[in-house]
């Protein structure tokens, strides 16, 4: 356990070495936040829609801006690249559970992104616009939901990356995911704005667990426990699947390169 804690710490430090990248990312993030706020306020400004009045819409936008880096919404390719180049041999002969080790590193990364990618945009949104507040209990549940969202996100990204063991070049898969996740997780448009059948369909997938779920918990739209249960179930399913897929990959698949 201690070794995984150390890995989480290393994940935190690795990302904290790239300061300029952080500032660039933050600037883009805030720009998009402003843009999305103005669009959404144009929709709900006159009359509340599907439970979204102006303060809720502001909270929705800026919590979303904060959380999207936390859950790496567009996916990452680190493991896939290591599979492609064959560097994954190094990861495979260590005395660790590779999936758990990568998760630990990702938790560290996410911890860093709370400081630099979550808190600043939420603070900016809160200062510039009427931001719907919440009590400490709700914030705590929101934090729990965000962490579950991170587990779901890691579960998905890990599975997507392991496809590289079979496909080698899985950039297509990852590209498709980047588009799908943005549309389906509730970032582009709040899921309550979708038609009823689409809403039900989406909540049958893990995507809402990434962004809409934590926001629903914060805004107390619907019972919070159903959201948390949805996230926890998907996290368990995806992480278990990842464990078995990796095991199969290791037994069946060729490690590239000499």
């Amino acid at each position: 356990m201690r070794s995984y804690a150390q890995l989480a710490l290393a994940g935190f430090r690795r990302y904290s070495t790239y300061r300029q990248a952080m500032f660039a990312g933050l600037a883009a993030n805030v720009m998009f936040g402003l843009l999305r706020t103005s669009v959404l306020l144009a929709v709900v400004g006159a009359a509340p829609k599907e439970g979204y009045d102006v303060p809720s819409a502001v909270a929705y936008v800026w919590l979303g801006q904060g959380i999207l880096a936390f859950v790496v919404l567009w996916g990452d390719t680190t493991l896939a690249q290591r599979v492609r180049s064959g560097d994954v041999v190094v990861d495979l002969y260590r005395p660790w559970h590779l999936q758990a080790a990568l998760l630990a590193e990702d938790v560290g990364r996410a911890g860093y992104s709370v400081l630099v990618r979550f808190l600043p945009p939420v603070a900016i949104g809160g200062l510039l616009f009427p931001f719907r507040g919440a009590g400490p209990g709700t914030w705590a549940l929101f934090a729990l939901s965000a962490v579950l969202g991170l587990l779901v996100s890691f579960g998905i990204r890990f599975l997507l990356n392991t496809t590289a063991f079979w496909l080698l070049d899985n950039r297509g898969v990852l590209g498709l995911y980047a588009v799908a996740s943005t549309l389906l997780c509730g970032l582009a448009l709040p899921i309550p704005f979708f038609p009823g059948w689409a809403r039900d369909l989406l909540w049958a997938t893990p995507f809402p667990a990434l962004v809409q779920g934590p926001i629903d918990v914060y805004l107390e739209h619907g019972p919070q426990w159903t959201v948390l249960l949805h996230q926890a179930c998907w996290a368990a399913v995806l992480l278990t699947a990842g464990h078995f897929v990796l095991r199969r990959a290791v037994r069946k698949v060729v490690v590239q390169g000499g």
């Binding site: 890995l7 064959g86 000499g258």
Partner: protein
Amino acid sequence: MIEVRDLRREFTVTTKTGRFRRSRRTVRAVDAVSFDVAAGEAVGYVGRNGAGKSTTIKILTGILVPTSGRVRVSGVDPARSRRELARRIGVVFGQRSQLWWDLPLRDSFDLLRAIYRVPAEDHRRRLAECVELLELADFLDTPVRQLSLGQRMRGEVTAALLHGPELLVLDEPTIGLDLESKERLREFLADLNARRGTTLLLTTHDLDDIERLCPRLLVIDRGAVLADGPLEELRERVAPDRVLVVDLERPAGPLDDLPGVRSVRSELGGLRLHLTFRRAETTAAALIAAVAARADVHDLVLEEPDIDDVVRRLYARR
């Protein structure tokens, strides 16, 4: 330490044969390989590109599952007990890095200590030893991405040794290093083997590595073991001819009737003679004495087949 019996590994290769048609064929990367390595040995594992070296190494470290055959490393089946084995052996892949790219070298060592659960005292002692012998002190706090290749390799070897492995597997550890860095690394490894008794298994294309480090040579080609034994013995078997080159003050005939001389090549109008002989039949000293008795010797050189010749001849015999 290592026991390999009748090891085979096949890969399926798919090639495009038409717009939609593909043909599959099975390639044997390793074909009925058997060998043993005893504790404390230093073995050079040599072969051409694609001979099956890296495949064998991946099987020995548990990363690849063999198609058939029996493998025991440090008493366990590598593919089944990969994690257990990883605690007992160290691996250095010359072309891959096991260090954390973005972090200072020291942080990688700390992480490895946590991953391998090395007691603090052991870690401190081993690290101090490596820092001293491999001269790491100057760049311990430099991020790995900023290290030179030579520095990084020294870091890699340290990383593989911090958990005190009984076997160290090195896959082309000196690749890309300059002569001085190579020599320093070889010295360190030779010392490790001699003093600490760490078993070494080393693949390389640089045969000087073998000459300096490994009393035993294992040659593999097209997936099968071609030769296995001490370098001297292989040399004797495959390339037994030695050549004495003598420069004479004045021509003194072909000298092909000297005892033990198998053939003579004459150059410079008889002023330089290449006398071929074999260790089993005469010694260099006896031959030099015999030449000196017949002619005035100005200069002489003794040519031994080097390890490259030995390996080349082994390949040529197939």
